[in-house]
């Protein structure tokens, strides 16, 4: 499966780069992450709880950073295994200074999945992985805001002085909130592919309910089974 996309961070490249190398931040940005420890200069090991439709479970894995060209680009390799199956992927991440104080992040890579995840989650996998990424990046962006606010005002190259910098409290999203956000994303995705623009809003609402119910049944069943 190919994954590619872009995201704009509200902050300078150097800060984004630093943040992405901070395991504490990464661990909280993606809910479900139970642990993420740096085991080597460019290697992290961790556990993450993943849910894709009816398949859920804990993955143990490794994240490797290579081909670093700070603060421009690097290659991220991920490998994880668990009850729901396994995943293996790698992608190139590029950070581009937009010149307006924001950073454009471009990512392009490939993800291989197997096991239960691959055989029962097909229709949801693409949507859900894109959504997980998007949500994770948004959380990172929020973390970035907090970090920058904490640094106070100040002129940084290429950035205009901010008059009133609001304190943005960073609260990592709970699993339930995250799940809701994913559901909305997936529903919107499906709606966009299937329905005409005029109907989309109404259909998204309906689909959200349907997908949420489906996920909810499985959510309930799986979490019950885990006890």
């Amino acid at each position: 499966m190919e994954l590619a996309g872009e995201y704009v961070f509200d902050g300078p490249r150097e800060d984004v780069w630093e943040m992405m190398r901070d395991p504490a931040v990464l661990a909280t940005a993606l809910p479900g992450t139970q642990s993420l420890d740096q085991v080597d200069e460019n290697e992290y090991a961790g556990k993450m709880h993943v849910r894709v439709g009816p398949v859920a479970g804990v993955f143990s894995g490794r994240v490797l950073i290579s081909d670093e060209v700070p603060p421009e680009s690097y290659v991220l390799s991920v490998e994880g295994r668990g009850g729901p199956g396994f995943g293996k992927g790698s992608g190139r991440v590029q950070l581009i200074d937009r010149g307006d104080g924001k950073t454009l992040m471009k990512y392009e890579g490939e993800l291989q999945i197997g096991g239960k995840l691959a055989s029962v989650g097909q229709r949801l996998i693409e949507s859900v992985s894109k959504s997980l990424l998007r949500q994770g990046l948004e959380s990172l962006n929020q973390a970035l805001q907090t970090r920058l606010a904490g640094e106070g005002e100040g002129v940084v190259e290429g950035r205009e002085v901010e008059e009133e910098v609001e304190e943005i409290p960073y609260r990592p999203p709970s699993e339930a909130q995250f799940a809701t956000a994913v559901v909305k994303d997936v529903a919107a995705d499906i709606a966009a592919q299937v329905f005409s623009p005029e109907n989309q809003a109404a259909w998204v609402a309906i689909l959200v309910a349907v997908v949420a119910m489906a996920v909810g049944f499985w959510f309930g069943r799986k979490s019950a089974e885990r006890r």
Binding site: G57, V120, Q122, R123
Partner: protein, 782 residues
């Protein structure tokens, strides 16, 4: 004999039990102290097993045992090959590699079992499966048939030097010479892909070893309880009469349930013998996609040599057959493909080069059709392409090549799946086709309706194909018929039943012979304690082989009844008749004796049984045909395609079938309907999608689309009847007939509907996506 039951549209005796939820299926079996099994299955299609740690699983409360291959010790062995390669063909290359109960060295297909957990409930067992830590080193997988044979491809079996499982060449006449004489040679590549049987009931086993009685009882969703019993007894050192295998009501078979010595069958038997407790395993739907056998994958490079008058001079094809990771079922499926590649036609020259290939996918064994659909698809497609190139009507080209009724028995001289020469016994192919032409209104449609609809811009097409089906193969089946003292009749036979109405149609045979009502015939199938000689329900043979065994046994009992009644009523046998459960003197109704009374008299409490005779009114008889009977049929359909949504709407569907003597036409129709529904699935909605790593991407009914009532049209069934000369009843099988021609029919109809695009459909299954791509490519050309 007055009233005749065979041939009647009798409703089924077994229905009330099924309709009111009183029928026993394997999962309904509950035994006190029963344990439940769950399996850890590989997430990789090809991987080396480095280590497996079950200690955490063993600790979980409620878990009784966890076993790996190591724990099995000497009991761990490869399954026995079920079908050997044909000894009658020269130079056959065949590498036997059969399945294992639990992985020991490496995983060869997705879902191969690594460990078995036994616990107090299935819920706990599944929890414990997650506690097992397994270290699998992934290996590169082979999934594509052609790539699997390329030098340097990853090997499924490391002890072989390639993934070639078998190589077999069959020749009839001299194709190369025929080719020289042809006016036209058409070459095409034809690809057919995998599907599942998709029975509504998944597999299941309950195995119970009674230590005190030294007796093993197994309930199994198998289609072949007798070989399973004999095999398991042999495997575990038990006498065959220490083992009883019961196939109760089974929720659909369709082929994969005849595969035997599945890992689960072996493991549950081993474990119950070890623990002395009953054990149950019920497959869930995802496991069914991974752990139950599949079929259909083949790639053909084919050609047909034909004269300008449309007369076939020869057919040749080189093909690859996907056997999956192991090949326990031998060459049965591809031999069937070869046997059907010439179909109903007089093909004087034939060449077939078959290579069977190992891949990192589930094992293939017969699924309804069992290799025949592929052969028919090949021939019908080649003929259709030829017809187009010659500018000939598709009906006409078929008529010119049919084997005429006078030519039977027609010996193709190639070897079929029964290792005998392929002999077609009887049929009138022209009559069958003409009936289909008539029923669908072919002429009128082509001349009037289709042009009119096309002028409106609609894409409507008609398809019509012919086919044969080899059925009723041996080796044999048997049956025992007994008249009870209450006047009812008990019958036992070895085949199992998965919905084919055996309890009714077989009873009709007995009713005719003994003058009783079929409702008074108690039929037992699939219980080795009741009958233990036979093979099983497969290859459309129940209504031929088992039915004729029952017929023979009923006739024997009839003879005994007449002999005894003749003494008792002091009347010659010729003057006696059997009707309404009594034996009476013709025209003198007061002089009669009921069958029940006669049965009591036949079992003396005083006196003796004469030497050379037997007590009671009972007989056991067998039937084994020399070779299989050949059924035939013709299907026609009108469909409409929307070239924007790719959705297909079947407007009409006609199926003419000839299965010789019909035991029960209502049942025959049901079989044809069901077969066609599966065939429609095989043609447009169903396909197993594997990625390049051997991951099955659609292992659920949400993504693998079994047709619903919305996709299946109303089917009009027509009958032709050419009795088979090979058995007293004159019957031929019909269980798979519905499925066999559908992909060929679908392809033809689609092409016809999209004639303005000029597409060629040489692949099965098709799908909306594939059709879209074909149309895109076609539009680019114009």
């Amino acid at each position: 004999m007055t009233k005749k039951w065979v041939g009647q549209r009798l409703t089924r005796t077994e229905d009330p039990r099924l309709l009111t939820g009183q029928a026993l299926f394997v999962d309904d079996v509950e035994i006190p102290g029963m344990l439940h099994a769950a399996f850890l299955r590989s997430d990789y299609a090809h991987a080396r097993l480095q280590s497996i740690d079950v200690s955490a699983a063993r600790e979980r409360p409620g878990v009784v045992a966890v076993y790996t291959a190591e724990d099995m010790g000497d009991a761990w062995q490869h399954g026995p090959p079920l079908v050997i390669p044909p000894p009658t063909v020269e130079d056959v290359v065949f590498h036997t590699r059969t399945q294992v109960p639990l992985v020991k060295d490496k995983v060869r297909y997705l879902g191969e079992p690594l460990a078995m957990v036994l616990a107090e409930s299935r819920y706990i067992a599944e929890d414990a499966v997650e506690d097992i830590f397994v270290d699998l080193e992934p290996l590169e997988a082979v999934v594509d048939l052609e790539a699997a044979l390329e030098p340097g491809a990853p090997l499924v079996h490391d002890d072989l030097d390639s993934n070639l499982a078998a190589h077999l060449v069959q020749d009839k006449g001299d194709y190369a010479a025929a080719r020289e004489k042809a006016d036209l040679v058409i070459q095409r590549r034809i690809v057919i892909d995998r599907c599942v049987a998709g029975a509504m009931e998944n597999r299941g086993i309950v195995a119970s070893w009674d230590k005190k009685a030294q007796h093993l009882t197994i309930w199994d969703t198998t289609q072949a309880p007798i070989p399973v019993r004999n095999g398991l007894a042999g495997m575990f050192g038990l006498a065959s009469n220490q083992v009883r295998v019961i196939a109760p009501f089974v929720g659909g078979g369709f082929g994969p349930k005849i595969m035997m010595f599945y890992a689960e069958e072996v493991l549950l038997t081993w474990a119950t013998l070890k623990l002395g407790r009953p054990i149950k395993w019920i497959e869930d739907r995802r496991e069914n996609f991974l752990a139950t056998t599949q079929e259909r994958g083949q790639v053909h490079d084919a050609e047909i040599a034909i004269t300008r008058n449309g007369r076939i001079l020869g057919v040749s094809h080189t093909f690859l057959h996907d056997t999956g990771a192991y090949d326990p079922y031998g060459l049965t499926i591809p031999l069937n493909t070869q046997s059907h590649a010439m179909s109903a036609y007089d093909v004087p020259n034939y060449h077939s080069d078959l290579k069977v290939v190992f891949t990192n996918k589930m094992i293939t064994t017969p699924v309804r059709g069992a290799g025949r659909p592929q052969g028919i698809f090949l021939m019908e497609r080649l003929l259709d392409v030829a017809a187009k190139e010659l500018g000939m009507d598709r009906i006409e080209i078929r008529k010119r090549n049919f084997i005429p009724p006078e030519a039977f028995p027609y010996n193709h001289k190639i070897i079929d799946q029964a290792f005998a020469e392929l002999v077609l016994d009887s049929g009138n192919y022209l009559a069958t086709l003409e009936k289909a032409v008539d029923m669908i209104g072919y002429e009128e449609f082509i001349k009037e309706e289709q042009p009119r609809l096309r002028a409106e811009g609609r894409h409507v097409g008609i398809g019509i194909v012919s086919f044969i089906e080899t059925t009723g193969v041996g080796p044999y089946e048997g049956a025992r018929v007994t008249v009870e003292t209450d006047g009812r009749v008990s019958v036992a036979t070895g085949v199992g039943t998965q919905g084919q109405a055996h309890f009714t149609s077989f009873a009709q045979i007995v009713a005719d012979q003994l003058g009783v009502s079929p409702r008074d015939v108690r039929m037992v199938t699939g219980d080795t304690a009741e009958f233990h000689w036979g093979t099983g329900t497969f290859a459309s043979r129940g209504s031929v082989v088992a039915a004729n065994a029952i017929h023979a046994a009923a006739k024997s009992v009839r003879a005994k009844i007449l002999k005894l009644a003749s003494k008792v009523l002091e009347t010659p046998e010729e003057e006696l008749e059997l009707e309404d459960g009594v034996v009476r003197v013709a025209d003198v109704p007061r002089q009669s004796i009921s069958l029940g009374e006669l049965a009591a008299l036949a079992n003396p409490l005083r006196g003796a049984v004469e030497p050379g005779t037997e007590p009671g009114l009972e007989s056991t008889d067998y039937f084994g045909p020399q070779y299989g009977a050949t059924a035939n049929g013709a299907h026609a359909m009108i469909l409409e395609v929307d070239p924007e949504t790719m959705m297909v709407d079947i407007k009409r569907y006609v199926a003419v079938e000839d299965c010789g003597t019909m035991l029960n036409p209502l049942v025959v129709e049901g079989q044809v309907h069901g077969g066609i529904a599966l065939g429609i699935g095989n043609s447009y909605y169903e396909q197993l999608v594997y990625d390049e790593n051997g991951q099955l991407l659609n292992a659920s009914l949400a993504d693998y689309l079994i047709p619903t009532a919305w996709e299946i049209p109303r089917i009009e069934v027509g009958h032709e009847e050419t009795r088979s000369p090979l058995n007293p009843i004159g019957s031929k099988g019909v269980g798979e007939a519905g499925t066999i021609p559908v992909p060929a029919l679908f392809a033809q109809a689609l092409e016809d509907a999209l004639a303005d695009y000029g597409v060629e459909v040489l692949e099965a299954p098709m799908s909306p996506n594939k059709l879209f791509e074909l149309l895109q490519a076609a539009e680019h050309k114009t």
